[in-house]
Amino acid sequence: MSLFDLRNANARYNGAAVLSNITLSIAAGERVALVGQSGAGKSTLLRMLYEQRAEEAALLPQELGLVRVLSVFHNIYMGRLNLHSVWYNFINLVRPMAREVKEVREIAVRLGLEEKLFEPTGELSGGQQQRTAVGRALNQDSDILIGDEPVSAVDEHQSRVVLESINERHKTVLIAMHDITLAITYADRIVGLRGGAIVLDQPTAGMVPSDLDDLYRN
């Protein structure tokens, strides 16, 4: 049984076709990387897929969706807003509880954000902000993660930590990314987009980066 199913799906933006005739099915437990040039329709496709499982999936949008005036702790804590009562959330907003800090700290340590735990995210670097958003998704009680370029602003070493953590935490992973090497390493299936259409859909086993050159040729 598949978690995500698109049959001949189309999407338009301002009258222009962004996606055309997409047929895609993703089963639980799959780790899929979406690759392709910018403007190929990756974000739109991710959004369409997210809408199919909005109730259960953790979302890691390209614009991150961080609350800039709140600290790293609060932003990561937000991943669990749905698990607690309003009062519990309110108390943690005003004065974080030791128990919650401990849990969030573990995630922050892993992502190299421990020193910044109580700094407003608006004052962090782009990479740190991106990792905070990842932390929020990791903290979310969800088997599915949908991420749009989650490592675009972090260095190679951090990227690996991030993707490993995601793979450990979430069973089904759908990520759009531009680094082909990382995609092949951490995904087990690659979907290539070009001009709003799927032009490639293969398992990563035995794949080398040059296999994807066609996607980026002008």
């Binding site: 109730e55 890691l60 991150l64 969706g65 991943g79 749905n82 959330n89």
Partner: protein, 483 residues
Amino acid sequence: MFVAIAVLGLFLADLEIIGADPWSEFGRMALGAVTPDFTATDRLFDAVLQTLAFAILGVAVANVFGFALALAFHYRFVRVGCAFIRAIHELFWALIFLQIFGLSPLTGILAIAIPYAGIIAKVYSEILEEADPAPARAAPSGSGAISIFLFARLPDAWVHFKHYSLYRLECGLRSSAVLGFVGLPTLGFHLDSAFKQGSYSEVSALLILFYIIIATMRYWVHKRLLPAYLIAAVIALPSGVSISMTNVVRFFTEDILPHPIRVAESIDGAVLEKLWDWIANLLITQAVPGAFNTIVLTMIALVGAGACALAMFPLISPKFFGKKGRTIGHVLLVVARSTPEYILAYVFLQLWGPSMAPAIVALSLHNGAIIGHLIGRHTESMATRSDSPKGLNLYGYEILPRVYPQFLAFLFYRWEVIMRETAILGILGIPTLGFYIDSAFADIRYDRALVLILLTAFLNIGVDALSRRIRYRLRLKTTLNHA
């Protein structure tokens, strides 16, 4: 077109300066200004304390209710209600509450809190609307609307709330001071006496204290100190005036009923006829001339404020003046915009007698300084070519065209404020609606006062709606925190 209306207004307005010798009086005022006497009023310290107490409590209460109303702002009746309560000037609220609660602290607190709650509700709801929607989308589904609001929307808005509250507190201090003119024990009480007695050294001492309080606000307003201030404010309020429920009930069930109905045994045709006469008489002799003068004065003052703003903004713009020049400009603008227009008008009235001229000058200067300040700030971040022209050419060809849309936006935004102030200046004797309202209160005819106050409220709401439509059509946008 607005300039044309204003010019037309100038012909209709009574501008005569009737002080036979205004300059000798002005000389005395100037002398007083440079020889402030801080020992003249023995109750000076108390007055400062009361001014602060009313402002802090009024703004605090307004914040609580304004915030709650902002959350319900999508209901039409809340929006209309807020528009209505903020269309009535705090001085009118004070006059109403004086009848109900007398000189009890509640009068001052409510007079500030009610109109401010209406303003704050509108501004806060706009801030919340403009908050970044992305975090809410990224929150896990099933989080509950309140939790999402707390984490994803409130924190962003909170920063704006804080800035805006601070600005409101500054307004609150001005309002609080002005409430003294109708009898509350704030700075205005002593200003009024000092002016009337011509003790201008005392006047200048009071005003200097007032400027100091406002200018130093950012040093003494601190989040952690707020609870202490609130408690201190409560303690500082005058005590000993009790509130009687019978007064409250009587005001609503008797005082504000139109006279023909109040004295009637039962409602019949004859009473209704008398009621009609009563209304017609009120409309013809007071409401219509009052409204006419209010509109004429508003239009002239609006254009005057625009002219003042365009003349004043270069004073604080780094594009035109060096550091020293700008400091002088800043002091000028701070004085012009911190002095409530009521007090400015009062000063000019002493000089020129009660025509529209003092009101026009006061409103133009005050509002011009506020807009000029905002525009001047705006030019700071403006990049000009290094080979751009200097002086008047720079002004006319480079800066003015660029700030003009912003300028218009601010000006139209102030339109309603100017209208509200215009009505109030009637209390000083200029025959706008406020003059007739003040007369009605002086004659203990609250029924008439209420009808006239309602009329001013509707005028204000009308102008507010009109200005919003014009701004919308011209696609003008004002930044939120400078309402």
